[in-house]
Assembly symmetry: C2
């Protein structure tokens, strides 16, 4: 589309949609204009001068509109919109992690079939260009792991709890007021948002797609004051970490879970709504990318970067998917964990391959032991339901 | 060159050349092979199996060689090699900051004229893909500054001095032994290496080229124990910072100088041979990229990333150079500085626009004051020659 003017049909006018609108207005771009905005509730009062509609056809049937930006919450609706656009040959920028985490393989196929670009760097890590860097820069042979804090909202909450001794409920409320949290807080707090981003990142980092239900995912909603005290005593902090790593024999592990992070780690210092990603490779050791992971302006400007890339005919090439020796996903790996529980019956959920510490008192019990990802994955719903909290606890 | 096999003619077999050789051997790439290596001294014993020559013609006249990698120290020789290769239509990866900082405009012109790629991400910040990120990702309208530690060797020395109380001489010796330092230490210590990288970064960040002699450049070689004690008392550390920033009226300032960095800044924690770059923008606030900035393997793997990018027909587009409103370089800007001197005559070099602190004792004298870049630039050789040390000292 080099040199062409983009007339955007925008779906969604929440925090990020509004952020994009404001950023575009501020920079006064001549090549990019939001022509019409499709929203769920047309009657909601909005303080901006723009053409709104609640009918997707008014975007898709407008011959002037040559570009779609999809920034809505509803993953099913996002799927329909993005698919319809690609089938019409319209390039799309999408911010919907959940939709991509479920349908990315079909989306890759649609892009190839209709020779049209779908970009979504803004969907993972807000303003940090992590997807495009993994896609363009890190050679698969050299890359060993990508690990980081991919959800700004849960990290904001953890920061407030650990640095300002705020209660969990107050911290969550503040995150929502500031526009960092998804409208459904479970997405952030229970690790789903991190999981969706991890799946997208893994496609670009290692060339393989793993469906969400196959990956151990566990969040911070069960964390209590005993856990926080434990972390403080060890001079560590809980961080919600998404993790993909090549282990031996070209096998790949993935998981999202809290981790007790010690002070000498880069991500220890990732505070508030910031995201931080550590990329490790065989030869360059490790690199760290850090930036705002949530909020309307940072994410809006990341969406604009995707739009600008489309102006220059950029497409993801998904190079690593063509590797002859793609790694194979496995749950056959163990972690050293902190496991806080209530009843002896809770212990039966988990088969510890080794136990390093065992503490019991009337109202606080925990085990530090080694457990397999396969085990954790098979009981993850139960772990969430009971009064249990589990976190990776590496020796360092 | 998609799908083609690269037969590389390599110039230079120092730390980085050897690093590239080892990295390539380790990953066993089928598409990339070092066919012949041109070195200055063919008689030097080398412990690797490879075809060496001391005659550039044996590379340029070999019809099998379809790719040039230039990793030599000598900027004039590097200029001839890269120019000759581009004129022959051979793609080149270069690591020579000094050559690029002086000849980048001609190199851009040659790439366009002969429709051939010259990549040099490895030349700035070792393993951090900062150039390609600035080129591809950060929209000019949004970018306000790029600031960071671009020289691993001087940072290694400062780390050893501040963290391990090592003497300056011992720290420099250790840096050289570990292969972090340039063969001429003045390049690292006096800020020249940082300057060359800053010039390259600025071309990709803001679209304009500024010649080295126009930019205030000052290193750490005059730093003494009094200065180090001053920093420690203020709970700050000296870091050698390269800095480009858009100020008012679309003007751009650039400089390389030590800065007293307080604990709450990202670059305070960039230790040893690591590099760290803070990229600020209007809407995404700031981002931080961090990684190994020196050493054979990290830089060798960065060179390999450039080579791989060429395999996929990647070229820098130098998009920002085509902006209708390029910023204009200026020295008309003031900084708050710490200025340690010996004689009253030294004070005459600098015209302080404001003085905030003034300390004199028998053997230690300093002023904290505001001074213009133009002033500093006009006396930079004299500042280096006398027993004076100057560092930016922002209020924070």
């Amino acid at each position: 589309m080099n040199g062409k003017k983009l007339n955007i049909g925008l779906f969604g006018f929440g925090t990020v949609g509004r952020g994009l609108f404001d950023v575009l207005k501020r920079i006064g771009s001549k090549n990019v204009e939001i022509k019409r905005i499709c929203v769920r509730n047309i009657n909601k009062p909005r303080s901006v001068e723009a053409e709104f509609t609640d009918n997707p056809d008014e975007i898709f049937n407008d011959p002037d509109i040559n570009f779609i930006v999809e920034l809505i919450d509803d993953a099913d609706a996002a799927y329909s919109i993005v698919k319809r656009a690609l089938q019409m040959g319209l390039p799309v920028v999408s911010g919907n992690k959940k939709m991509l985490a479920h349908h990315i393989e079909e989306m890759i196929e649609l892009q190839a079939r209709y020779n049209v670009a779908l970009l979504y760097d803004a969907s993972a890590c807000g303003s940090i260009p992590v997807i495009r860097n993994l896609e363009e820069y890190y050679d698969n042979d050299l890359l060993t792991s990508v690990k980081g804090i991919l959800n700004g909202s849960s990290n904001f909450i953890l920061s407030k709890i650990f640095n300002e001794k705020m209660s969990y409920a107050d911290a969550l409320k503040l995150a929502q007021e500031l526009g960092f949290a998804e409208s459904n807080p479970s997405l952030d707090i229970d690790g789903w948002d991190s999981l969706f981003k991890l799946i997208i990142v893994t496609v670009h980092a290692f060339g393989i797609y793993v469906a969400p239900e196959k990956i151990f995912t566990y969040g911070i909603s069960n964390m209590n004051d005993d856990d926080i005290r434990f972390a403080n005593e060890k001079e560590r902090r809980f961080k919600l970490v998404a993790h993909v790593e090549k282990i031996a024999d070209n096998k790949l592990i993935m998981c999202v879970m809290p981790q007790l992070i010690s002070r000498n780690k880069y991500i220890y210092s990732v505070e508030d709504e910031f995201n931080g990603v550590v990329i490790k490779g065989l030869f360059y050791d490790k690199q760290f990318m850090f930036g705002r992971g949530a909020g309307g302006y940072p994410t809006g400007s990341a969406v604009l970067s995707d739009i600008t890339a489309c102006l220059y005919d950029y497409k993801y090439e998904y190079k690593k998917r063509n590797d002859s020796q793609l790694p194979e996903y496995t749950l056959d790996h163990t972690f050293r964990v902190y496991f806080r529980y209530e009843d002896v019956a809770d212990l039966e959920l988990v088969k510890f391959e080794e136990v390093y510490e065992n503490y019991t008192s009337a109202d606080y019990k925990y085990v530090v032991g080694r457990v397999s990802l396969a085990n954790l994955h098979s009981v993850q719903d139960e772990l969430r339901k009971r009064n249990i909290f589990i976190a990776a606890y590496p020796r360092d």
